[in-house]
């Protein structure tokens, strides 16, 4: 923590030194000052002009039905809530001063939940939290070179279902509804040699607010971006300390006024995922990392979106994930899960092994469980300037399960939004989308000032 504070202070000091030596963000001449008093007034005015904030207050209720699957027998293992009420205050503060960009995003949350489970019956739970989800100090060292340190949700790439080229985040925030992606700690240097090219050097120094399984490993990446007249592309090479290297890339093409085509992918040696493996334990199998760790593995997203003249945009996306389970592995996985579920309520020693196994099957350390997915989406974000409608169908092509999602956001005046969403998972308990929830409804209100 001390090291991080030192880094932030160093950036601030470096910026002030540069500012005092005359390096300024814009090259416009500044009016001559007649004295120290005038300088102070100008500096204060610059701070006032550069400061900005937005506060969003959200209140929303959720009703969901946990699926009675082998992963979560009688909702006793995961203890998912049936009813939830959330209240969140999300202020964003920003200051641009000379060479600096500062931002901080503190969060205040309060959540109440009602949980129905097999052995515990009906229970309620409530908890509040105060934390800083993101903050950033950025200094423009040179007109073409900027460095930053802070807690960010660093996202990129055109992929909707996932952003495989991003070695830092599994979630890309596009599937969640009103949920924020937790920030992680980064040091970044971005060099912009021309309008078309930029090179980013990124170090992920701490997991920040991101939840991780196991010890945190530092990750370093070099990202090279190109933006042309109607296309763009990026190459991302990364190295995770004491782990593996990855090569990611993405590209997009504005094929016409209405049609966008894109692709994104990554390649790596081996897999960090857990796979069902024969074992001498009572279940005859356990979740283990792959024995051979040098096969070339990858993940790829290809897609396109088309905007109709009437306004709606349709998106079709296909995802291939070689790290996911093939049919034999999936059969082994579900069989193991079922054995663990059968032994879960066992009064003897087997229940301990069952809990351990279900912990591993719940988090197999893979972005997706299987290999082939298809997404079809309809978005009309501007119906009479007040209504935004989204409809989405996500299909696991390997096990046949799917997820239907729909949302409506109604803008009321300049400050208020009313929103509702519904998610239905189709497929049995031994499918990916049928594992956790049968359905979920969210109804809420957002006020911004």
């Amino acid at each position: 923590m001390k090291k991080h504070a030192c880094m932030a202070i160093s950036l601030i000091v470096a910026g002030f030194i540069l500012a005092s030596t005359g390096h300024t963000r814009e090259t416009l001449p500044k009016p001559a000052s007649s004295g120290q008093g005038k300088v102070d007034v100008e500096a204060w005015q610059q701070i006032k002009d550069g400061f900005d904030y937005t506060v969003r207050v959200l209140a929303f209720g959720t009703h969901q039905e946990p699926a009675n699957s082998s992963q979560n027998p009688e909702n006793d293992f995961l203890r998912l809530a049936s009813y939830k009420a959330d209240f969140e205050v999300r202020p964003d503060f920003q200051l641009t001063y000379d060479l600096f960009d500062l931002s901080v995003k503190p969060r205040a949350t309060y959540a109440w939940a009602k949980i129905d489970s097999g052995t515990h019956g009906h229970e309620t739970d409530a908890a509040g939290d105060l934390f800083i989800n993101e903050w950033l100090v950025r200094v423009q060292i040179h007109e073409r070179f900027l460095v930053s340190y802070g807690r960010e949700s660093l996202q990129w790439g055109p992929g909707f279902l996932s952003s495989p080229s991003n070695p830092f985040f599994r979630e890309n925030g596009r599937l969640g509804f009103k949920a924020e992606v937790a920030g992680s700690d980064f040091v970044r240097g971005v060099w912009v040699p021309s309008a078309a090219w930029s090179i980013s050097m990124i170090a992920n120094t701490n997991n920040g607010k991101q939840e991780i399984k196991g010890p945190f490993k530092k990750t370093y990446a070099l990202k090279i971006d190109y933006t042309g007249e109607s296309a763009y592309g990026s190459l991302v090479g990364s190295y995770k300390k004491d782990d593996r290297n990855r090569l990611g890339a993405y590209a997009g093409w504005t094929a016409s006024d209405a049609l966008l085509l894109y692709g994104e992918g990554m390649l790596q040696r081996g897999s960090e995922g857990f796979y069902p493996t024969p074992s001498t334990n009572a279940f005859g199998a356990a979740m283990m990392t792959a024995e051979t760790d040098d096969d070339l593995q990858g993940m790829m997203v290809v897609g396109g979106s088309y905007t109709l003249a009437a306004g709606p945009t349709l998106t079709l996306e296909y995802l291939y994930h070689s790290l996911g389970y093939d049919r034999a592995q999936a059969d082994g996985y579900y069989q193991l899960r079922q054995k663990a579920a059968d032994a879960y309520f066992d009064p003897g020693t087997l229940s301990g092994l069952a809990r351990q196994t279900l912990s591993q099957t719940a988090y197999p350390n893979l972005r997706f469980l299987r290999q082939n997915y298809l997404l079809l989406q309809y978005v009309n974000s501007d119906i009479h300037d007040v209504l935004s409608v989204t409809g989405r169908w996500l299909w696991n092509m390997d096990d046949g399960s799917s997820q239907l999602f729909g949302s409506i956001v109604y803008s009321w005046g300049g400050h208020t939004e009313l929103f509702a969403s519904g998610t239905y998972n189709l497929g049995g308990g031994d499918t990916e989308f049928g594992t956790y929830l049968n359905y979920r409804w969210i109804l809420g209100w957002e006020y911004a000032f």
Partner: protein, 251 residues
């Protein structure tokens, strides 16, 4: 009395001669040069920023937005500043590539130029205009708009990547600014018209030029649907490449 008639005749002949032998300077310009100069008055400069207030009236509903726009050549960055519910949203236009950034939704989303911004305005409408680069002049004529002599250019898109396939564009012969435009779909149907006012001024290389202050877009089918863009706080300034870099926009 004879003397007065003689004076009037002399004046008349003088005006006739001046009319015959003097031609407006702008008429010397090639049509593409005229188009280029009209682009300058709509933001196609080496660096400029301005504020836009959008008032949209659609099907009896009224909506307002305020944006701060930075533009350089074919790159623009628009940041929504009001109302509060849209504050912080950003629209980055790198030539034909566009991204939308929403606070909370951290990932920049690639979007098409056709996607609607608000009311009758498309994303492409708030960006600087590059008609000279994106269109060829299929036909040139002359016509008066509100008594003002204008060139009338029939512009045809040079490729299919632009927001409008065809534009009929009226450019003032005297002021060299676009005063009216009619926008057509690929099927040849006119779907909206726009009129422009130039109450702003900018100084470039020591010369003062008019700059757009108002753009009023009217739906071709439902005439009551009108979206008005007001431009203010226009400032030519140096804007670095970093200002349009996607890696630096989300913070």
């Amino acid at each position: 009395m004879k003397r007065i008639k003689l004076i009037i005749m002399c004046f008349g002949v003088s005006f006739l001669l001046v009319g015959l032998f003097s031609r407006p300077v702008v008429a010397e310009l090639a049509p593409r040069e005229v188009l280029k100069k009209s682009d300058r008055a709509r933001g196609n400069l080496s660096g400029i920023e301005w504020m836009i207030k959008i008032d949209a009236r659609e099907d009896g509903r009224k909506q307002k937005r305020k944006l701060h726009l930075k533009s350089r050549d074919v790159n623009s960055l628009a940041e929504f500043t009001a109302p509060a519910k849209v504050k912080g949203r950003k629209l980055l236009m790198r030539d034909r590539n566009m991204w939308f950034i929403k606070p909370g939704l951290k990932k920049p989303v690639p979007i098409s130029p056709r996607q609607k911004l608000m009311g009758g305005a498309s994303n492409g409408d708030i960006a600087s205009t590059n008609y000279a680069g994106d269109y060829e002049i299929a036909k040139a004529a002359e016509e008066e708009i509100n008594g003002e002599p204008c060139y009338l250019f029939d512009l045809k898109a040079t490729d299919k990547k632009v927001t409008y396939d065809r534009i009929r564009y009226w450019i003032s012969k005297k002021r060299l600014v676009g005063v009216k435009a009619a926008f057509y779909t690929v099927s040849g149907k006119m779907f909206k018209t726009a009129t422009f006012e130039y109450g702003n001024q900018i100084q470039v290389d020591g010369n003062v030029y008019p700059f757009v202050s108002k753009m009023e877009i009217t739906d071709a089918l439902i005439k009551q649907n009108v979206t008005t863009l007001y431009y203010s706080h226009v400032k030519p300034k140096t804007i670095s490449d970093a200002a349009f870099n996607l890696n630096l926009l989300v913070r």
